[in-house]
C-alpha cells in the first residue's frame, strides 16, 4: 500500500526528542550531588580545583544546559508558532552532548587535558552548533518573530561563544594558543555562560511562561527589550573591560546593568502576578518565583567580591559561594520548579493526544507525585542553605550533611521523573 508518510496521521516526534534531555539532566544532577559529597574538602580550598571544575561543569552542562536544550526544542516552536526545523538536528545535539559532557568532566576530575578532554570539547561544540542552526532555521521559517524568540536565539549564540571559549581553554592547557594561561580567562568564560546563556535564556522563556502559568493578561514587550539591551550591553562592556586591563572599579558598570535588568525582570514577574486570573498559585510556580528572588543572592556575593577586589584582595570563599549559589541556587531552583510545569504536559501529550476524544483523561499534573515534590523542595532548601553556610564557614561536617540533603533532593527528583515517564494510559 502506498502510505504517504507525511500525512497527518503520523505523529510528530517532539516528545522523543525532548525526553532524553530531561532524563540525562536528572541523572547529571544526581551525579553532581554525589561528586559534592565526595569532594567536600574541595570547597574549603581554592576554586581552581579539579573537583570543583568537574562539579561546576556537571551542573552547567549536564544539568542546566541539557534540560534547557530539551525544553527549548519543545518551547521555541510554541513561542514562534511554527514547527521545529529538524528533529534530526535535535537528536544530533543530544547524542553529541551526551557523549562529550562525561568525557570533559572525567578529564577535569583527573585533571588531565589530553585527547579525552579535547574530544569532549569538540563534541560539546558540535552539539551546540546543531542546536543554534536548528533554532536559527526554525525562527527564520516562522512568521512570528517575537521578543522571546530573540532572547532564546541570542542566548544560544552566547552559549556557543562560551563553549568555543571553553574549547580554546582546554587546548590552551597543552598548546599555548592563548596569550595567557587558562586560569586567567576563567571568569570571562564563566560569565559569558552565566549571563549570556543562562540568564538571558531564563528571562526570555520565563517572561513568557510565568504569566502563562499564572494565567495573567500582563504583557510588556518594551520592558523585555530594555532588559535585553541591558544584559547584552553588560556582556559586551564586560568583555571589553576584560581585555583592556582597567581598574576593577569599572566592573561595576556591567554589574549595575545586570542588576537593573534583574530588577526590571523581577518587577515584570510581580506585575504578572498581580494581574493573574488563577488565584491559587501552585508550588511549582512558587519555587520558580522564589528562584527569581534567589538571583539576588549570587549578586550580593558578586558585589562583595568586587568590593574586595578594589582592595586587591580576592576572597576564594566568596568566589565558591558565588558559583555555588548560581548553579545550585538560582539555576537549580528554576529547573526543579519548571520541570514539573513542562514535563507532565509533554508526557500527557505523548500518551493522550490521540485518545483525548475517547473519554475522560487524567489531569496532566496528576502524572507526578505532589508529595514527593514537596519533600524534594524541603530537602533542597535545607541542603542549599546549609551548603552555602558550610562554604563560608569552611566547615566540612556542615558540607557533608548538606551534600546528603542535596543528594536526597536529586534522588527524589529522579524518582518523580521516572514515575511520569512510566505512566501508562488509562484509556486504551
Amino acid at each position: 500500500m502506498v502510505v504517504n508518510t507525511n500525512n497527518n496521521l503520523v505523529q510528530n516526534t517532539t516528545h522523543k526528542v525532548v525526553i532524553p534531555f530531561y532524563v540525562y539532566a536528572g541523572l547529571s544532577f544526581l551525579t553532581a550531588t554525589v561528586l559534592l559529597f565526595l569532594s567536600d574538602n574541595a570547597f574549603t580550598q581554592h576554586y581552581f580545583q579539579p573537583r570543583t571544575l568537574a562539579i561546576t561543569h556537571t551542573m552547567a552542562l549536564g544539568w542546566g544546559t541539557m534540560i534547557i536544550l530539551g525544553a527549548s526544542h519543545q518551547l521555541v516552536p510554541v513561542l514562534i508558532e511554527a514547527k521545529l526545523f529538524s528533529n534530526a538536528l535535535a537528536y544530533a545535539s543530544f547524542v553529541l552532548a551526551a557523549i562529550g559532557i562525561p568525557l570533559l568532566i572525567y578529564s577535569f576530575f583527573q585533571f588531565q587535558f589530553n585527547g579525552i578532554a579535547q574530544a569532549g570539547a569538540v563534541l560539546i561544540n558540535a552539539a551546540v552548533v546543531c542546536f543554534v542552526l536548528n533554532l536559527a532555521a526554525s525562527i527564520l521559517k516562522s512568521k512570528n518573530k517575537n521578543v522571546h524568540a530573540v532572547f532564546v536565539f541570542t542566548a544560544s549564540v552566547w552559549l556557543l561563544a562560551t563553549t568555543v571559549m571553553g574549547f580554546l581553554l582546554v587546548f590552551n592547557f597543552t598548546k599555548n594558543i592563548l596569550p595567557k594561561d587558562s586560569v586567567r580567562y576563567l571568569s570571562l568564560h564563566a560569565h559569558i555562560g552565566l549571563v549570556g546563556w543562562f540568564l538571558l535564556l531564563v528571562m526570555g522563556v520565563g517572561s513568557r511562561l510565568i504569566p502563562m502559568f499564572l494565567i495573567s493578561k500582563y504583557d510588556d514587550a518594551k520592558t523585555l527589550w530594555l532588559i535585553y539591551f541591558l544584559v547584552n550591553g553588560a556582556l559586551i562592556s564586560f568583555i571589553v573591560l576584560f581585555f583592556s586591563a582597567v581598574d576593577s572599579f569599572f566592573y561595576t558598570v556591567p554589574l549595575t546593568a545586570v542588576l537593573l535588568a534583574l530588577l526590571l525582570f523581577a518587577n515584570y514577574c510581580r506585575e504578572a502576578y498581580k494581574q493573574r486570573i488563577r488565584k491559587q498559585v501552585d508550588k511549582q510556580v512558587k519555587i520558580s518565583l522564589l528562584s527569581v528572588a534567589m538571583m539576588l543572592l549570587p549578586l550580593i556575593f558578586l558585589a562583595a567580591l568586587i568590593a574586595l577586589l578594589l582592595f586587591s584582595f580576592a576572597n576564594t570563599k566568596l568566589v565558591l559561594a558565588y558559583g555555588f549559589s548560581v548553579f545550585f541556587g538560582w539555576l537549580t531552583a528554576i529547573i526543579l520548579g519548571m520541570t514539573f510545569k513542562t514535563l507532565p504536559f509533554i508526557v500527557w501529550n505523548k500518551v493522550y493526544h490521540n485518545r483525548a476524544g475517547l473519554g475522560k483523561t487524567p489531569n496532566p499534573k496528576d502524572l507526578f507525585s505532589e508529595s514527593l515534590f514537596q519533600k524534594m523542595g524541603l530537602a533542597y532548601l535545607a541542603g542549599f542553605g546549609l551548603f552555602t553556610a558550610g562554604i563560608l564557614l569552611g566547615n566540612t561536617i556542615v558540607l557533608q550533611i548538606a551534600s546528603v540533603l542535596l543528594f536526597i533532593t536529586a534522588a527524589l527528583y529522579n524518582v518523580n521523573i521516572l514515575k511520569m515517564l512510566r505512566h501508562k494510559p488509562l484509556i486504551k
Binding site: 500500500m1 502510505v3 497527518n8 473519554g359 488509562l426
Partner: protein, 268 residues
C-alpha cells in the same frame, strides 16, 4: 543449500552473491534489497513465501531464478503463515454482524491511495467490532498504524492476489490510580449529541499565545448552564487542561489534522 517456502532471504544472499540480482529481477518491488540498510532490515525477517506475497509473484518465480545458481529446491514444504501468528481468538469467534467489510481493490486499481477511505471506516469501528480489509497484498504500514491506535490484526492470505486483513478494536481496559470514565470510540459524538444545539462555538486559531487560553476561560465564565463550549484550536492546549479540571469542567478533544484540533468543554 536447500531452500523452501520458509527459507529466509538473508541466508540465500549470504550463500550466493548473485542471488541478489536474481531476486531483484523477479519484481521491481525487490529493488529495495539493493540498499544495504533495508536489506539488513528485511532480508533477515522475510521468508520466500512472505516475499512472494509482498512482491506479488509466485513461489515458483523464486525457485526458477534460484535453481540455476545451485540452490536445491524443496517444493513440498508449505509455508507457515507468514506472520507466524496463531489465529487470534477474535477471528475464531467472528460473528457475521460485527464485521465491517471494506474492499480497497477498486480504489487501488483506480490509482489512488486507499488510506483515507480506510481511516474514514476506522472511525465507525466500535470496541469489540472487527474491520475486514480486502486487498491484493498485505497492508503492512496500515497494520502498524492501526496497532498504534489499539487494534490487533490478523492477516489471512486466501491466495497470492487476495489478502484479507482483520482488525479488531480491543476493549478499553482500565488500570492505574485515576479512574476514568468507561470510554467508547464515539464518546466525542455521544457528548456532542447530548448537548444537541446547546453548543457555543468559538474560534481561537488566529490568536497569538496566550490569548487562546484567556479567550477560552473568558468564554467559560460566561457560558450558560447546560451549554457546551466548542473550540476550534491549533493544538491541544495542555496548560489549559488542569485549569479546566480546577473549575469543574470536563473536556473531550478531537484531533482533526495537524494544526487543527477541536475541543468540547462542558460542566461536569
Amino acid at each position: 543449500m536447500t531452500i523452501n517456502a520458509d527459507t529466509k532471504i538473508a541466508p540465500i544472499l549470504k550463500q550466493n552473491a548473485s542471488a541478489l540480482e536474481a531476486i531483484v529481477s523477479i519484481s521491481p518491488k525487490f529493488e529495495k534489497l539493493r540498499n544495504p540498510l533495508l536489506r539488513k532490515l528485511m532480508a533477515g525477517r522475510t521468508t520466500l513465501a512472505e516475499a512472494s506475497r509482498l512482491g506479488g509473484c509466485s513461489m515458483d518465480d523464486f525457485f526458477k531464478k534460484l535453481e540455476p545458481l545451485g540452490f536445491e529446491i524443496d517444493r513440498n514444504t508449505n509455508a507457515v503463515d507468514g506472520a507466524k501468528k496463531p489465529v487470534p481468538a477474535f477471528v475464531a469467534s467472528l460473528k457475521k454482524q460485527q464485521v465491517i467489510e471494506l474492499d480497497v481493490r477498486p480504489v487501488i486499481s483506480s490509482g489512488s491511495d486507499p488510506l483515507n477511505v480506510i481511516m474514514e471506516k476506522v472511525k465507525s469501528v466500535k470496541p469489540g467490532d472487527v474491520l475486514k480489509i480486502i486487498n491484493t497484498f498485505e497492508p503492512t504500514p496500515l497494520i502498524r498504524l492501526l496497532e498504534k491506535k489499539g487494534f490487533e490484526s490478523y492477516v489471512n492470505a486466501v491466495n497470492n492476489n487476495l489478502i484479507e486483513t482483520y482488525f479488531h478494536k480491543k476493549e478499553a481496559s482500565n488500570q492505574g490510580e485515576i479512574e476514568p470514565a468507561q470510554p467508547t470510540a464515539s464518546d466525542w459524538d455521544n457528548v456532542l449529541k447530548k448537548f444537541g444545539d446547546k453548543v457555543q462555538k468559538i474560534e481561537v486559531r488566529h490568536l497569538e499565545m496566550p490569548q487562546p487560553m484567556l479567550t477560552i476561560l473568558d468564554a467559560l465564565d460566561r457560558l450558560e448552564n447546560g451549554t457546551a463550549l466548542y473550540v476550534y484550536h491549533k493544538r491541544i492546549p495542555v496548560f489549559l487542561l488542569p485549569e479546566l479540571a480546577q473549575r469543574g469542567f470536563d473536556y473531550r478533544i478531537k484531533e482533526i489534522q495537524d494544526g487543527e484540533v477541536h475541543l468540547l468543554i462542558f460542566k461536569n
